[in-house]
């Protein structure tokens, strides 16, 4: 509640006409940025805590909350005799998605993307996630259905905005039928590129003609991915 109040106060300040139209002095504008960023971080922290509690409640019904991650041997086949694993993952926001940078999606072997639809009607939405272009990825929804996806290069002008963090590639897939005021999660796994001995190209190193051929190949046959 205190974090929401803080966000409300900052939003109140930013209703000032100078903040809306950009007629404030530069250092005032920078302070507005500092304030709204701090408020957003506070609220996303709160959202993370609340979502974590919700996840624990939903996935570990009637069980005491245990913080240890599940051991491989804990995977169960017979639910009556084997203990069920406890889930303790966090829900993090990536505030640099607008410059195609996100630490979790670029560095983790397995990550989950949860898409929350705030509208009162169902929508479908294309998800763009920054990833490491040296890997192949597999996107799966809760029905074990692999989802068609595409890895696409981000223009170098964009990565130059955040040269340390921006990965240069994005994973794109379609999230269908996001429920009204509800969410859907996707499980994303990265794998080494199929042709491990092939040289690792980056888009900028490849002549444009070759690039277009590769792209067409990807379009025509989804299973035959080029090495990059």
């Amino acid at each position: 509640r205190s974090h929401l109040d803080y966000m409300s106060e900052v939003m109140g300040v930013l209703q000032h006409h100078d903040a809306i139209t950009g007629t404030s002095k530069e250092h005032v504008t920078q302070d507005y940025t500092v304030q709204i960023t701090a408020a957003l971080k506070a609220c996303s922290y709160s959202a993370k805590i609340i979502l974590n509690q919700l996840t624990k409640r939903q996935t570990n019904k009637d069980k005491p909350v245990v913080t240890e991650p599940p051991q491989p041997s804990a995977r169960y086949h017979d639910q009556a005799t084997q203990p069920q694993p406890t889930f303790t993952f966090d829900f993090d926001s990536c505030l640099l998605l607008n410059v195609s940078a996100c630490d979790i999606s670029e560095t983790k072997d397995k990550f989950m993307v949860t898409v929350y639809n705030a509208l009162a009607h169902s929508v479908f939405h294309y998800i763009r996630v920054p990833v490491d272009g040296n890997f192949e990825y597999e996107v799966t929804d809760y029905r074990s259905v692999p989802i068609t996806h595409q890895i696409i290069s981000v223009p170098p002008q964009v990565t130059a905005l955040h040269p340390i963090q921006a990965s240069g590639y994005e994973l794109v897939f379609l999230a269908t039928e996001l429920p009204p005021v509800g969410y859907k999660s996707f499980f994303i796994t990265r794998k080494p590129a199929r042709h491990v001995n092939a040289p690792r190209f980056r888009f900028k190193d490849v002549p444009e003609v070759v690039l277009m051929q590769n792209d067409e190949k990807m379009a025509s046959d989804d299973t035959q991915r080029p090495p990059w």
């Binding site: 007629t23 694993p85 993090d92 979790i104 929508v123 905005l161 690039l211 792209d215 989804d222």
Partner: protein, 283 residues
């Protein structure tokens, strides 16, 4: 004038000419229409602000000095086609680039532009605009959602309640755009939606322009006491809807409203590290 590259989906395809500029749009009914887009900039007026005619363009006032400069005669392009999205990456110059994007299942074109840092080595303030051109015969009329609610009818060089003698032909026809600006004739409608409030206008029939970035070197003496000297780059999106007005299902208005809602209240993304889990456990 012929297209050398095109990208599209089941709803439409857009073509690019040999210089890399957007050139046309072909709809699913087989009709093809002129549609171009480019960036240019206005040079900001400079004055001592003592009298009306000597006002500078600044934070409060958009006042070009009547000079309109195109940023490129030719655009470097890279085309990427895949099963989910097709993109054309355009580089106009060192400080303007853009991705034009057509998703497989979306009935609109996405323009993701990146502008800046605007160079001012020549000591000239610049106000950068993205302009869309069609052959729609809009008869001086265009529409903006300036109050954030309904589309308001605008007539070029005209005001509803007094006789106008317009001395600033460009700035005098600019209106606030909260999310949407559109032109139409009896048959077709072009609508460009924004991801943030911007200034926009239609200075020629069938054309729509939106101001995306400004960097000015003089104060306009209306209180801020600072030049609007933004030194950074800006990245943003425009969403273009083009279609026929009669008999379209869903209607153009419905398409615009749904897109507005989906972009202004777009889904939130949360990321979780699930390295410790197998898919079956997660499921």
């Amino acid at each position: 004038n012929s297209n050398v590259v095109s990208i599209g989906n089941k709803y439409f395809s857009i073509g690019f000419d040999s210089k890399g500029f957007l050139n046309s749009i072909a709809l699913d009914d087989g009709s093809e229409h002129k549609l171009s887009q480019t960036f240019f900039y206005y040079e900001g007026a400079v004055g001592d602000n003592r009298v009306f005619k000597n006002r500078s363009s600044g934070a409060y006032i958009f006042r070009p000095n009547s000079t309109e400069r195109f940023v490129a005669n030719q655009v470097q392009t890279k085309v990427i086609k895949g099963p989910v999205v097709e993109e054309v990456h355009q580089t106009f110059n060192d400080w303007i680039s853009q991705v034009i994007r057509v998703y497989h299942d979306y009935n609109f074109v996405e323009f993701e532009w990146l502008v800046g840092p605007i160079p001012v080595d020549d000591n000239v303030g610049k106000e950068v605009v993205s302009r869309f051109m069609t052959d729609i015969k809009s008869s001086n009329v265009f529409y903006t959602d300036s109050n954030g609610r309904e589309m308001i009818r605008r007539v070029r060089d005209h005001r509803e309640t007094w006789n106008l003698n317009l001395e600033e032909q460009v700035a005098g026809n600019y209106y606030p755009v909260t999310t949407n600006i559109a032109v139409e004739d009896q048959e077709r409608r072009l609508s460009v939606m924004t991801d943030r409030a911007q200034g926009g206008s239609s200075l020629q029939d069938g054309a729509v322009e939106l101001m995306v970035h400004r960097r000015l070197l003089h104060d306009d003496a209306f209180g801020v006491a600072e030049a609007l000297n933004h030194t950074h780059a800006i990245r943003g999106k425009h969403f273009l809807i083009f279609g026929k007005l009669n008999g379209a299902v869903p209607t153009m208005a419905a398409r615009e409203r749904f897109l507005q809602a989906e972009k202004l209240l777009s889904p939130w993304l949360f990321f979780s590290d699930v390295s410790s889990y197998e898919y079956e456990d997660w499921r």
